[in-house]
């Protein structure tokens, strides 16, 4: 006779980087269902559009999240630029692409470290984050900030990045590839790691589609959908294919993210090779009037930015649909039928970013 019990999981838990709460209904050691609840750190940043003008709002948008901050700033700017019909110079488009891919690189590296920590491989966690530090150094050199770059602006970028610096980036990326080769072998081949990831938390392709998942979580289940294919910024001119895996388990999610790391390095190298000379910012005149829904592929998945202006300096509405918000129903589905001991790893496989979700 098995017993049903409810175990509260989080918001403060050693495996969770950010506060999310789950009520887990357990039958013995197996999870029957999970009820998510969020909202511990809701900040109401969307409401700030009424107090800050549309140019100051770029800085607020960047601070939605500490990891995908560049993408949030860029998504917001893209939406406002489309409302105001501003054409961004080509060089700025390329630089934005480079910074977005660098963000993806450091976000996925951060995830690899956190995952290693979640399944108890602490030395791997440290080695992974050592690589991440090198990326952060590059970003600090170019933009002046380690995670919040404050370089994107409505109409382009606020600072140009000199060509010598880009050449230096290309050189450092070559070294990074070597570093990643050493580290990723531990994730992909180590038996201990595989035993924690293979076959755990399988999400089928139908479920992934129905539950509206996005990002690597979706692509690991075999859906070929990557918003970068919608050709915003300079992605149209770069050669790449969405990374897809068909197993749908935790291991597949790990593989997809590792492949995306190499893809990002490749994309940055392509962009550095193609980048044209010229201005990086178009002067913006007037006030936003109209609406637009921009989408950006963040490291964690597709983010939507809805902007509505009414001809004054303050926008009427700014709404962000973050990838983690869309992935929560998928997470709840994945948890069903799993062991209680795997909950920590499974929550991390969707790469939750709760600060994004609660804006």
């Amino acid at each position: 006779m098995s017993k049903i019990s409810v175990v509260p999981y989080g918001p403060q838990h050693p495996v969770l980087p950010e506060p999310v709460h789950l009520d887990l209904v357990l039958q013995d050691e197996k999870i029957v269902s999970a009820i998510p609840s969020i909202g511990f750190i809701h900040r109401g940043l969307e409401k700030l559009v009424e107090k800050r003008d549309y140019k100051e709002m770029v800085f607020v948008a960047e601070r939605i999240c500490g990891i995908c901050s560049f993408g949030h700033g860029m998504g917001y700017c893209e939406a406002v630029e489309n409302v105001m019909k501003v054409e961004v110079p080509d060089r700025a488009k390329y630089l934005r692409t480079i910074f977005q891919e660098m963000s993806r690189l450091h976000s996925h590296t951060l995830w690899l470290g956190l995952a290693a920590d979640a399944f108890g491989y602490e030395s791997l966690f440290m080695q992974t984050w050592r690589i991440r530090e090198k990326i952060l150094d590059m970003l600090e050199m170019a933009t002046g900030g380690r995670v919040i770059f404050s370089i994107v602006d409505v109409g382009g970028l606020r600072k140009d990045v000199p060509d010598e610096m880009l050449a230096e980036f290309a050189k450092r990326l070559k070294d990074l590839r070597e570093d990643y080769n050493r580290i990723t072998a531990a994730f992909l081949e180590d038996d201990a790691v595989k035993s924690r990831l293979c076959g755990v938390g399988v999400l089928t392709i139908e479920q992934a589609n129905d539950l509206g998942c996005c990002g690597p979580f979706l692509r690991a289940s075999g859906v070929r959908r990557d918003s970068r294919m919608t050709d915003y910024e300079a992605y149209a001119k770069l050669d790449f294919e969405p990374v897809v895996s068909h197993d749908g388990d935790s291991y597949a999610r790990c593989v997809v993210r590792i492949k995306e790391i190499y893809q990002s390095i490749d994309l940055i190298e392509q962009a550095i090779a193609q980048i044209p000379a010229g201005d990086v910012c178009t002067p913006v005149k007037g006030m936003p009037d109209g609406e637009y829904l921009a989408r950006v592929e963040q490291p964690r998945g597709e983010a939507l930015y809805y902007v509505k202006g009414n001809g004054t300096k303050n926008l009427e509405r700014f709404r962000v649909r973050t990838p983690t918000f869309a992935n929560i129903p998928g997470l709840v589905e994945v948890l069903k039928g799993q062991d209680f001991a795997d909950v920590g790893t499974l929550i991390l496989t969707i790469d939750p970013c709760i600060s994004c979700t609660e804006r």
Partner: protein, 118 residues
């Protein structure tokens, strides 16, 4: 559906709140997936609700206008995952939603002020 408005790449169709479930069912059967639901405050006591759907890389939105007191019918019977967006809308804007499959009753976001965006 009435005439679509083109705003950038987004197609928006204005609909009547009573026909919401019909329109959403139609979209569901032509295999559109729900991408987001968002409310916008447009006046003292009036709101706009925007439902965005995706099909591959295409986007399509439907929009309806409601007043503060009106109850909006939930689309969770058609798209079960809409419960998060609808609870969010209820918690932030105070819009009453009828018949949600998982109703947090104002407990999804723990805000200090009730319905802060109202």
């Amino acid at each position: 559906m009435r005439q679509p408005i083109r705003a950038g790449e987004m197609m928006i169709c204005e609909i009547d709140p009573d026909t919401l479930l019909d329109e959403v069912t139609k979209l569901k059967y032509s295999e559109w997936r729900l991408m987001q639901i968002c409310a916008t405050k447009t006046g003292e006591d009036s709101y706009e609700v925007l439902y965005t759907f995706g099909h591959g890389y295409r986007l399509r939105s439907i929009r309806l206008k409601i007043s503060g007191e009106a109850k909006l019918s939930s689309i969770t019977s058609i798209y079960p995952i809409a419960y998060l967006y609808e609870n969010e809308m209820h918690d932030l804007f105070g819009i009453e939603i009828d018949m949600i499959n998982i109703d947090f009753k104002g407990g999804l976001f723990r805000t200090g002020v009730k319905a802060p965006f109202k």
